[in-house]
Amino acid sequence: MITLSKADYEKMLAHAISELPNEACGLIAGTKQGNDKQIKKVYLLTNTDHSNEHFSLDPKEQLAAVKDMRANGLVPLGNWHSHPESPSRPSDEDKRLAFDSTASYLILSLMDREAPVLNSFHVENNEASREELVIEE
């Protein structure tokens, strides 16, 4: 299970909306106990692809985020990105480029602008499985 605060969810959503029509992306960090992950910080990074179909995290911003995590005693938990026009599920390319089977991959669909959908996934051997996601008030 992975837990996200409502404030961090709204931060992610606001960034995703501000980046439309392109995909938005970032990193998530927090704490981990067994299979339970608590997201403590959401990082908003630049999509260097500037595309509505692809994303790549900016390596310089990624480096700064990794240092910030370490300085704050957080561990990297995975990443997040938006799907402006498609459902909240990993695409073939998402799965192909998901190299860390322990990471959580959060996908925020804005296909229905009035009802965004956020899901978390694990990807292993090119197979995605949904991870329980709890958004806390």
Binding site: E23, C25, L27, D49, S51, N52, E53, H54, F55, S56, L57, P59, K60, Q62, L63, V66, R70, N79, H81, H83, P84, E85, S86, P90, S91, E93, D94, L97, A98, F99, D100
Partner: protein
């Protein structure tokens, strides 16, 4: 000599290259790893000729991306 890798101090052999460090650290999917030494990005084609020095601070950044 002593270097720091992903925030952890380590003692390594003099003359260690970035390419050998990637092997020693058992970095997964090395073809998708970006390396920084003292916050400077190392060109991927130069890993085998980039020799680390005492006190260097190395980070491995894993490519993250995807598409719809």
């Amino acid at each position: 000599m002593d270097i720091t890798v992903a925030g952890v101090k380590k003692t390594v052999s003099d003359g260690l290259t970035v390419a050998q460090l990637i092997v020693d650290e058992k970095v997964e999917t090395p073809e998708y790893v970006t390396v920084t030494v003292n916050d400077e990005f190392v060109e991927s084609g130069t890993f085998d000729v980039t020799v680390l020095k005492d006190g260097d601070n190395v980070e491995f950044l894993y490519f993250m991306g995807g598409g719809r």
